[in-house]
């Protein structure tokens, strides 16, 4: 699914002051691309992920996912877009502590009108894809950081999304686990047509992406594309 961002601006109210998070950002991200968003804290990386993922609407500008104008959708429409087209990976895994790995991966499928068996099958496949199926019945507290992030990735891909959005996916992992997670994201990108957008200030993570977008103070200040 192609992502097209046209002149997007977004600001937040911080006390009495409006803080601009994104200023006139435009980007074209073709389907299947592997993109990194880099820049210092406050550059607007997470906000841009949120806008592309339909978590929030820009103040101005347009965001298209395929032919769909996300800025024209209401909260219900955005929820359906996230349900069918988007997978999120967060820095601190954001697994639900009371649920097992399997149940955490099941979360995006819970509201779907599919049979329990079909959902179970999808979850097992997702866990197998990230090599964590053997820990399916463990609670997050019983898993290492790397294992938890694998579960989080399985949760992000269980609905077979068109776009996977990862916000500092290696931020809480050691170097070795960080490399494993990035390797996994590359494999997922190569194995399917999902567009992967990773926000990070880690040079190794940024360098793993095919296209690198640099943000500063809410603006795109540079783009580079690696040759295969």
């Amino acid at each position: 699914m192609d992502i097209r961002i046209e002149h997007v601006a977004k600001s937040y109210r911080l006390g009495q002051v409006d803080v601009a998070a994104l200023r006139d950002v435009s980007l074209d991200l073709p389907a299947g691309d592997f993109v990194s968003l880099s820049g210092p804290s406050g550059a607007g990386k997470s906000t841009l992920l949120g806008v592309v993922g339909g978590l929030e609407k820009p103040d101005t500008g347009k965001v298209f996912a395929g032919e769909q104008d996300l800025t024209a959708l209401d909260s219900e429409g955005l929820a359906m877009y996230r349900r069918h087209s988007v997978g999120f990976i967060f820095q601190s895994f954001r697994l639900l502590p009371a649920l097992t790995a399997l149940e955490n991966v099941m979360v995006p499928l819970v509201p779907l009108d599919e049979s329990e068996a079909a959902k179970q099958q999808q979850v097992v496949e997702a866990l197998e894809r990230v090599n964590i199926a053997h820990r399916a019945n463990h609670l997050p507290g019983e898993l290492s950081g790397g294992e938890q992030q694998r579960v989080a990735i399985a949760r992000a891909i269980v609905n077979r999304p068109d776009v996977i959005l990862a916000d500092e996916p290696t931020g809480e992992l050691d170097r070795k686990n960080g490399e494993l997670i990035m390797q996994l994201l590359r494999e997922l990108n190569q194995a399917g047509s999902a567009t992967i957008i990773v926000a990070s200030h880690d040079p190794d993570v940024v360098g793993a992406a095919r296209r690198q977008v640099k943000l500063e103070d809410g603006c795109v200040v540079g783009q580079t594309t690696q040759e295969e």
Binding site: R83, A98, K119
Partner: protein, 420 residues
Amino acid sequence: MIWSYAWKGFARRKTRAVLAVSGLAISIALLVAVATISRSVRGAVGASLEAAGADVVVQKVVKPCPWAQVKIARDLSAIDGTVVDAVRKVEGVDNTTGVLDLWAFSEDTETGAQHPTVVAGVDPRKKTIGPARIEKAEGEQAEEACCAITEGRYLLATDDFHAMITEDYARAKNLKLGDRFPLGPYSFEVVAFLDLKSGGHISGAEAFIPLTTAQRMYDGGEVVTTIFVSLKQGRALPKVQELATSLIGPEAKVTSEANIGEATAALAVVTQRTLFAISAIVLTLVLLLVVKTALASVAERVAEIGILKATGWRDGDVSRLLTAESLYAGIIGGIVGTVVGIGLAFLYGTVVQPALPRSLVSYPECSTTEAPAALPFQATPSVWVLVAAIAAALVIGSLSGWLASRRAARMLPAEALRQL
């Protein structure tokens, strides 16, 4: 699937689940227990009226009169016998009978002290109503009769100094059929043994003698102390009350199922109105507690709600989840509370023994046999109380879930995730 997901979430957050369920369960248990005890005591007291085949009992209550060898029992006073006939003529009244409750003192052969026997003068023709009722009236659906003759015969209209005595009294006095025994200065022949079945007996006595004989013993003319009235129509009750007050005066005491419970020394003093007031207060407090808990739960679960929304849950899905969790608390709280409430009511029955109001019991403290005042308490919860208890728990659960889900629905996913 949201229901099973909700159950997992509910069951695994043990502390919050226990708090929500126990708050509801305690209040529901309280309501069920109070309602069940009140109903059961009222039922037991009402059964004593039914056992006598009556709906209303009319008496005249005064300060006890001085001692006499034959005197009216307790604090009762004589009512002219014509009142019995006047009440019978009230529209809607089915049957009446007058009883003269007496204490007859006789000399104890061993100690020489004067000892009272509780005597009830009854109309031998009235076997279907009164304290010695042995038969049901035609077509009557009421409880079993209060008494049964185990040996001998019922009093006859031609009897004079003849008595039916209770089995307990016969044992205590070592009396057999045909024996003679003293009641005050008179000697009576035992013609029957009566089994006073368990339960409270209004105007219960140790010896039942013909009413006319009792009136001669008392030497006060054709008087009675207690009038038993059975009604064809419940609406006749106010007319009976009005007539009794006008004929007897302000000391008239009219007892019916409607007010008999209030005078019973037990939790039955909890009248219907009091019960509703307690219920309303308790339910309001519980509602506030449960709503506060549910809203606190939303505040604590911002992260989870943010993740659910990020993964494609719609506002309605999140609402259903929170409502389902609250309903689980409501269902479990309601069931646990109901079971505990019934258990408490049973426990009450074993600890506290409710008894008939003293004015309806003719026995003195020093009677030969034990006064038949104890009410057979059996905790019988009303189906309606159980339905209402479960419904209240479900309504509270739904309402708190709905309020919580409204707050959760207003939460924007990006903001929820930023709060982590």
